[in-house]
């Protein structure tokens, strides 16, 4: 489904991604872990060409993303869902219009079909009661759910999540992670989840990648990653477990 080959990206003199290569198979849940500022979000933005990489190749369903013109790229983007860190809901639109927006712009559904789809995705994320609310009236967790609903309403084949649980309390964080897993199973999408939340990774991951300073330092199962003897991985998980226990105690 998704293949990244030797991807590199730098901002001025700072190398953010350094020769990154990996693959995500059809229906797989791939979790990319790493400390803040190691290039995880940049990687996701390169995949959808919000950022142009300096070198390397990106293939989605065997199409070279970097060689597509804008029209072809937009056709491909219709098959990709993206959940932003801040959910990125359109402030000036109600929940209904946020969900309706991509359907009106990119597809030819009748108003009745659109309404059915909106109701259906909002039921999936358990937020039907918020259909006429404005984004400013929603909590952080609700915004994430609506963002998720907007991303899946077009039934994408590939779903990209940028820190889906950041800024949420542990309970809501777990609920969002469970929801992502449920949706992935029911819609049979390929998912790439960027996070530094270990709990989220434990719930979602079929496979995990660890990024450090723009390089992949581990690619395998999460169990193998957590039991690795690599000094960086030991430190990373030690801090994550400490953080987790602190937030749980709070």
């Amino acid at each position: 489904m998704l293949r990244i080959q030797n991807l590199s990206k730098r901002f001025n003199s700072k190398v953010v991604l350094d020769d990154v290569s990996f693959e995500a198979k059809d229906g797989e849940n791939l979790v990319i872990l790493g400390r803040s500022g190691t290039g995880k979000s940049v990687l996701l933005k390169c995949i959808v060409r919000l950022l142009e990489p300096d070198s390397g190749q990106i293939f989605i369903e065997n199409k070279n993303v970097l060689s597509l013109n804008i029209k072809e790229l937009n056709e491909l983007r219709k098959q990709i869902g993206f959940l932003f860190q801040s959910a990125a809901l359109y402030d000036s639109m109600s929940v209904r219009h946020n969900l309706e927006f991509p359907l009106v712009r990119n597809f030819e559904f009748t108003p009745k079909e659109r309404e059915e789809k909106i109701v259906s995705v909002l039921e999936k994320v358990s937020l039907l009661e918020a259909i006429d609310k404005m984004p400013s009236e929603l909590s952080g967790g609700m915004r994430k759910r609506v963002g998720l609903a907007r991303a899946i309403i077009t039934e994408p084949k590939l779903m990209l999540y940028d820190e889906p649980t950041t800024g949420l309390d542990p309970i809501t964080s777990k609920e969002i992670s469970m929801l992502i897993l449920e949706l992935q199973k029911s819609l049979k999408m390929t998912s790439v989840v960027v996070t530094h939340d270990l709990l989220c990774a434990e719930i979602i991951a079929d496979r995990a990648i660890m990024l450090n300073e723009g390089k992949i330092i581990f690619d395998g199962s999460l169990e193998d990653m957590t039991s690795s003897n690599d000094e960086f991985l030991i430190q990373f998980f030690k801090h994550e477990i400490l953080n987790k226990s602190e937030t749980t105690n709070v």
């Binding site: 919000l50 359109y90 991509p102």
Partner: protein, 268 residues
């Protein structure tokens, strides 16, 4: 040593500012070209344009009404003693009318519009940029430039002339109030005097240049907002600089357009 370091820092800051200035000019030019590239391409965002025109009109309506009235009043109050000195008080309605129609109405309205609208657009698009809403549109295969930028520039370009015509009438009314304070004149007589002095050729260039001013306000506001960086601090900066740049450009283009008008129609 300290003075040399200060001078070096100042030089660096000056170089940075000059570079930023040229980047901005190039950006504004690109935005203008992109506008004409997309404005004729379907789908036409009629609903969005109408919505923005309504919002911009309503947002600016109260302030231009008050300012227009006061400007008319003050101009008439200032002109009256000067004309009285030359025994030409009867020319007051005509001379005030020409000033308002040809220059004051269009420029004052454009400057107020720039202050109110350009900053609003800069802040709105800037916050959309920093909260990744523009990225979300792009990832959703929606052209954010066409949806957010083209519609706003179009709305600004066409709502400003409407507001200008309104402000001209309000200013003329303000001037009449000032005239009433010193002379006993009916409104019909006053309006007749104004219309006798102000020719069609006075009004047209004044109104036409407001299309250019509206375009400037739209382009500067959207450019500053759309290219916002550095989070919320950047949003504030975008909003402020949008007002400064658009006001300055309005005055520069006014100078150019007045010169062109006088060159093309010397009798106007």
């Amino acid at each position: 040593m300290a003075r040399r370091r200060l001078s070096y820092t100042y030089q660096l800051s000056l170089e940075k500012r000059i570079t930023e200035f040229f980047i901005m000019i190039a950006g504004l030019w690109t935005f203008s070209v992109q506008f004409f590239k997309y404005v004729f391409v379907p789908p036409y965002e009629v609903y969005e344009v109408r919505k923005h025109m309504n919002e911009l009109g309503i947002r600016t309506f109260p302030i231009v009404s008050v300012t227009g009235f006061i400007i008319g009043l003050v101009v008439a109050m200032q002109t009256q003693p000067v004309l009285a000195r030359f025994g030409a008080e009867s020319n007051l309605p005509g001379s005030v009318g020409i000033s308002i129609v040809r220059e004051l109405g269009p420029v004052i309205t454009a400057l107020i519009f720039a202050g109110r609208v350009s900053s609003g657009i800069g802040a709105e698009l800037g916050s959309m940029r920093v909260t990744e809403q523009i990225d979300a549109m792009e990832v959703g295969a929606i052209n954010p430039f066409k949806f957010l930028v083209v519609t706003r520039i179009f709305a600004c370009t066409f709502i400003l002339p409407v507001l200008t015509v309104y402000v001209i009438f309000i200013s003329l009314f303000g001037a009449y109030v000032a005239v009433l304070l010193v002379q006993n004149m009916t409104f019909e007589f006053y309006l007749g005097s104004v219309l006798k002095s102000v020719e069609f050729g006075d009004a047209i260039p004044g109104i036409l240049k407001t299309f250019v001013f509206g375009f400037i306000v739209g382009v500067v506001g959207t450019y500053k907002g759309y290219t916002t960086t550095n989070g919320t601090e950047g949003v504030g900066k975008a909003s402020t600089t949008a007002v400064v740049v658009s006001s300055l450009l309005i005055l520069i283009f006014d100078m150019i357009l007045v010169k062109i008008t006088l060159w093309l129609w010397p009798t106007v």
